[in-house]
Structures are given as C-alpha cells and as structure tokens.
C-alpha cells in the first residue's frame, strides 16, 4: 500500500510552517478578507433556514448509515454504474488510482486531459503521474487554473486560490498565458481565462473529474460547481474519468435532496450551486461515450475501522470549518502541508496516513468548537482531534518534555496536599524569574508564553491557603 495525501508525508510540521506564513502580510490580509466574506455569506443563507438543524441531523444520519453499510452500497454502485454502461475500477491506494487513469488515457493514445476541480486528484498526486507519463493535465476550475499556472498548491478545499488576491492573479495570467496586456477588473481576468480554456474544452478528448456524491441506487455521479467549466469537462470530451473516494457514496438518489441543500449553503454561501451535474453511465449520442468510475480507498478503510473517529468520513468537503476556523484564518491552508487543510484537514490527513505522518496537525487547534458548530454533517472535529492526540501519546510519540510535565502535573494534582506543596514550590522557584510582579523568560515550554505575553507571578497566598487561614480565624472566634 502506498497511501499518499499530496505531499503531506514530507511536509514540515504545522508550527514551523505556520510561523513562516504568519509573517506574510499580504497573505494575512487576503485571508481575513476572504474568510470574512465566506462566513457572512454562509451565515446569511443558513440563518434563513428554519429547519437547518433538522437538515444537519438528516445529513449526519444518512452518512452514518452509509458508513455502517459501505460495503453493500459500494457494490450496489458498481452494479448500477456498470448496468448504465460505465466501467468501475477499484484503487487501493493513490498510486494504483493514478495508474488506472494513466492507462485509460494511454489506451486512447491521448496526450491531454481537461480536469474539473477535484481534491482527490491532488490527494493522489494525479497531475504528477500524468506528466510523468507524458500526458498534459489542464485544470479548468478558475481557482485550480490559477494554482496550476502559478506552480502553487491549493490552500482551501473549496476555494483553492483563496490566498491570492486579484492583482496576484493578474500577474500569474500575464506571465503564464503569454499575454501582452491584461486589465485589472474581474471581467478582464475572467475573459482571459475563458479564452484560454474554451480552446482546450473543444480540443481535448478526455475529461477527469472528482465527485461530490456517488449514488449507489442509480450508479450516478454528481458534481456541483459555480463556473460551468466543470459542466464542459463532463459533457464535451469523448471519455470521462471520475475519481471517487469511497466515502462519497450515498444510498439513494433522493438523499441528494438533503445534501444539495446543506452543501451549497455551507460551502459557497449559495442557496443552490449554479451548476449541478449528475450523470449515469453513458448515453448513446450524448456526452462522453466512455465513462470510468475509479473508486479510491487510499487510507479510508483505516478510518472506517476506528469507531471513535469514523465520522471523519462523513465530510462533504464544504469548507465551512476552514472559513470559520480562527487558526485557519491566521495561517491559511498551506500551513497544514496537505491537500486537506483547516480543521477537517487536521483530522483527515493524519488518519489517512495511519498516524504515521502529519502528527502535528491534531494540535493545530485551540479546540474552540466553531468547526463542529458549522459542520453540515455534524462531525465532532474537536473530539476527534483529542482522540488523535491521545493516539500520538499512546504511541509514545509526544515530546519527552511534555510527557514528563504531564506526569509531574498528574502527580501534583493527585491530592490537595500535593497540589498545595507544588504551589509552594512554584512560588519558591518563581523568584528567579519575577520582576515587578511578572514572570519573565520562563524556561522550557513556557518560554513561548512569555515571548508574546506577560505572565503574572503567583500571588503570595493561594486560595486554599486563604481559605484555611479564614477557617482558622473563624474557629478561634467560635
């Protein structure tokens, strides 16, 4: 097995990546601006829904049910899709999935593919595999195009170029599209992208998409998007290949009723996505005449096996948790070193890799709970973060100093007397750091506290000492 989540296995830890990114003032400004807009839009269309909580609960239950019977629904999907003229492939890991796609493209002697926005493709590093096989992938989602042309990595699961502003996009287009001049308005930039893409839509014979949902009952695949470029990719080419993470299955066509409400409202703050494409196998004389569904595991069954974090697989990749996350708002997605960023990325990435890599991610959260509150399928992300931290600790992979500190604290807190003694000891020690009632340049892990904030010195008398002396005085009085 070669589970791959983009380049996450080689990525630097979150702390050091974040430290660097926090110094990028343009990025910080872009992030504040973009997340503010996304939050406001989402809140507006969620607050107008009287049955929002009921919808969330429905979505959660459908997902929970599906995960419990995933084996059955996957086979049902395979049968239905095959009946409708599609071909279903099973990929155990990232490399196998890429190989399947490359082989299909090669079997048609094609050298180019056009792509709908798909995070799964980034997860399995499909573009690299295609390029290595001499096949040129063209990203057609506007944001993915910006990323591809800029030699950049996506920083958001819904809006991959969220970290770029308009002027930066203009620079990239000017340089990479070989343009002599280009206006600064959104219209001018869109026009440039349109001219660049249309020509490819008409020329390229193979399309590659991801899937928002795959319906077991009918074998249909559903992709939602805002630009219509996805619609071009799934309707114009002769051959269409869809990458489908096995958790994207939903049992019935009717279940889309729930998900096509919660997804657009949570993701882009729209009541409905402008383009909802649903296709089932092939239809003679209309659209692609060959359809391949590649069902990808790549670490997902490992998550399925853990009852405490299984609901990670419920995610519909709406990105609401990224937009609301106060950590993501500061660092952006690149700090997470993975295709999947933000709170959901912090639980998906390490788990897909069986906790062998990206172990700093479960700590990239203040556990404020905002992600859980906005999640349209009610994934208790903070709880899973804690669960994953416990796995790191259980594997003996937390820092030695931390383990020692936690043990010592555990001992000191095991009884009132011991705690009182520990407080006395701390008060004795603090004289080496105290100045004007504040502690300065604290040692060890506390050093980073005093780097940014003051730390008050422990008062001379703890509460328990005050209480004891009060009781004593009272005793004398009575």
């Amino acid at each position: 097995m070669n589970v791959r989540v983009g380049d996450a296995a080689q990525a630097p830890d979150f702390e050091s990546a974040a430290k660097k990114l926090l110094r990028d003032t343009q990025l910080r400004r872009n992030l504040r601006h973009a997340t503010d807009i996304a939050r406001t839009k989402r809140n507006r269309v969620v607050e107008e829904m009287p049955d929002w909580q009921a919808l969330r609960e429905s979505a959660r239950r459908i997902k929970e049910h599906t995960m419990r019977h995933l084996d059955i629904y996957l086979q049902q999907f395979e049968d239905a899709c095959t009946r409708a003229g599609g071909q279903v492939h099973w990929a155990g890991d990232a490399d196998e999935a890429s190989r399947i796609v490359v082989d299909i493209v090669r079997s048609h002697n094609e050298k180019e593919v056009i792509k709908v926005k798909t995070m799964t493709s980034d997860e399995i590093c499909l573009n690299k595999a295609l390029e290595a096989a001499g096949i040129t992938p063209y990203e057609t989602d506007l944001a993915e195009l910006i990323i591809q042309l800029g030699g950049d990595a996506p920083s958001h699961i819904v809006a991959p170029a969220l970290h770029r502003n308009r002027m930066e996009v203009r620079e990239i287009f000017l340089k990479k599209m070989g343009l002599k001049q280009l206006g600064e308005t959104p219209e001018a930039l869109t026009e440039a992208a349109r001219l660049y893409l249309r020509e490819r839509f008409l020329r390229v014979k193979v399309g590659v998409s991801g899937a928002n949902f795959a319906v077991a009952e009918t074998g249909s695949v559903c992709v939602v998007e805002s630009e219509g470029n996805g619609r071009m990719c799934v309707s114009l080419p002769r051959v269409l290949i869809s990458l489908i993470g096995i958790e994207k299955i939903i049992p019935r066509f009717d279940d889309l009723e729930v998900f096509l409400q919660v997804l657009p409202r949570s993701g882009t703050g729209e009541r409905m996505n402008p383009y909802n494409s649903i296709w089932t196998g092939v239809y003679p004389g209309d659209g692609p005449q060959e359809f391949h569904a590649v069902l990808i595991d790549n670490g997902r069954t490992g998550i399925l096996a853990d009852a405490e974090s299984r609901e990670t697989l419920h995610c519909i990749r709406c990105g609401a948790c990224l937009n609301i996350c106060p950590v993501y708002r500061q660092t952006g997605g690149h700090a997470y070193g993975s295709t999947y960023s933000g709170p959901i990325g912090a639980i998906v990435t390490p788990q897909l890799q069986s906790m062998q890599h990206s172990q700093s991610l479960p700590y990239a959260s203040s556990l404020c709970g905002a992600c859980y509150e906005v999640c349209p399928v009610k994934i208790n992300i903070p709880e899973i973060l804690i669960h994953l931290r416990a796995k790191v600790v259980a594997a003996g992979e937390s820092p030695f100093s931390e383990r020692l500190g936690m043990k010592a604290a555990g001992f000191a807190l095991s009884g009132g007397g011991r705690l009182g003694f520990a407080e006395g000891f701390a008060r004795f020690m603090q004289r080496f750091y105290e100045r004007d009632g504040k502690l300065q340049n604290l040692p060890g892990i506390l050093k980073s506290w005093t780097e940014y904030r003051d730390m008050p010195a422990l008062p001379k008398q703890s509460f328990r000492e005050w209480w004891a002396s009060r009781e004593q005085k009272r005793g004398r009085r009575t």
Binding site: F14, E15, A18, L22, R28, P326, V327, R329, Q330, T331, P362, Y363, A364, S365, S366, L367, C368, G369, A370, Y372, E373, I386, R389, A390, V392, V393, A394, S398, E402, M406, A409, G410, L413, S414, G415, G416, G417, R418, L419, E423, A426, I445, L446, S448, W449, E451, Y452, R453, D454, M455, P456, L458, P459, Q461, S462, F463, R464, W466, W467, A468
Partner: protein
C-alpha cells in the same frame, strides 16, 4: 443553601481573588460556602492533550470528592465543560458501572458560577456596584459547550454604575486553548492580536469573562502592550460593592 466550591487548580494558584469573590457574592446572598481542601483539578489539560490515563485519575478524584455535595459551583466555564461533556464519555470508556452511575448523578449538581446565580438561585442583581466601563469576553466553552447565553450580560447589567460595551466578534476564540498557547504560540499570538484589537475598539478599561484561562491569555497581551486595559473575572466585579468601590482600583493587569 450549602454550596461547595470547586475553585479550579489554576484559579487556586494564580487567581485566588476569583475564589474569594465567589465566596463573597454567595455569602452576601445568604448562602454557606464550603471548600473541600482535597480538591485539585478536573483533568482538562491532560484530557485535551491526549493524556487520557492521567485525566481518568483526576476524574475519579473529582467524582469521589464531590460524591455527597449537593451543589458544586465552578467559576470556570471550561472546567464545567470538561465535566459535563467529557466525564460521561470517559466514564463509559472505563466500563466501570459504579463510576458511570456516579458521574451521571454528579452532572446535575455541577453549576458554572453564572448558571448557579441565574438558574439555581434565581438572581441577577447581586447588589454589586462597579463604576467602570466593561466589555465581556465570551469563552468558547461557555458559548458552544455550556450555552451560557446572556446570563453573564444579565448579571453585569444589574450591576450599579457599570457601563457595558459590546465586544465585536465575541464568538471568535482568543487563541488560548490550553497547551495550544505554548505548542502553537505564534498562531495563538496572532489570534490573540485580533481579540486585543476588538477589546481596545470598545474603549473599555476592563475585559471580563467567566473563565480566567482566557483572561490569562488576553490579560497577558493587554499587559505586555501596556494598553491600560485589565482583565477581571466576572465574579470579582459582582463581588464589588459601594463600600469597596475605592479599593477596586489597580487590580491585576
């Protein structure tokens, strides 16, 4: 009414004034307060950091200590969230039937300080006097886990002399998050700078909250930047009366 105080470990050592204030308010309302000196910690730091074994021990200690207490008052929303949200799951994980039952019986007796005043004791006016401009920080745990709602506001609004200024983006985390503040200190500090900006925009002289752990973080920056704004636990404001209005100057900052 006999009320047992769980002061919280960090309040015990760092913020004894908060504990004293809770005692003062409850006694002023005619209740008797007890403090069980065997108490230590709810286990939140261990639990949130993944040290489940240590957290379980502290939970057992907590449950044992308050087994016969009728009402337990906790002036820390995050500790209450720990007890209410995590103790039941942790107890179930031990498969110890007695512990599961005891945790079950414990929960309805544990009150966050403002819950105790407003819900259990039915008071919002505790007879406080505090002639200062105050903004109220909302700890994430009180907002999303305890659903404390406007209880702290209602208590503050009933304080004579106080000017309450609304805090913009009140639902945004201050960046403390326990060990997060030191493990990811840079990100934590960036989040904190957003919070400080909002607090300063209110023009208040005091930032109050129902949880000193947030205030350790916020106060640490307010002090470092010599902003002239200080932090106070809500209980300390509620404890102030006309007679000690003079001496409330120059508290912790």
């Amino acid at each position: 009414m006999l009320i047992s105080l769980f002061v919280a470990c960090y309040n015990d050592a760092l913020f004894p004034e908060t504990g004293k204030a809770v005692v003062a308010v409850l006694e002023r309302l005619g209740h008797t307060v007890e403090f069980r000196s065997t108490q230590t910690c709810c286990g939140q730091m261990h639990y949130n950091s993944g040290y489940q074994r240590e957290a379980r021990k502290l939970m057992r200690h907590f449950v044992e200590m308050f087994r016969d207490a009728k009402i337990i008052c906790v002036p820390s929303s995050s500790c209450v969230a720990m007890v209410r949200e995590h103790f039941p799951k942790m107890a179930v994980a031990t498969k110890d039937g007695t512990l599961i039952r005891e945790v079950d019986e414990l929960l309805p007796r544990v009150f966050e300080f403002t819950e105790l005043l407003v819900d259990k004791l039915g008071v919002t006016d505790v007879g406080a006097f505090f002639p200062h401009t105050v903004t109220l920080h909302t700890p994430c745990h009180s907002l999303r886990s305890l659903n404390i709602g406007d209880r702290p506001q209602r208590l503050l609004q009933a304080v004579r002399g106080v000017t309450l200024t609304p805090l913009p983006n009140y639902d945004q985390c201050c960046g403390f998050g326990g060990t997060f503040a030191v493990k990811n200190a840079d990100v934590s500090a960036a989040m904190l700078s957003d919070k400080v900006r909002c607090i300063l925009d209110t023009g208040s002289e005091i930032c109050a909250a129902t949880d000193n752990s947030c205030l350790l973080q916020i106060g640490g920056a307010l002090s470092r930047q010599v902003t002239g704004v200080r932090c106070m636990h809500l209980a300390e404001i509620l404890a102030c009366t006309e007679s000690d209005a003079q001496s409330s100057r120059g508290g912790k900052s």
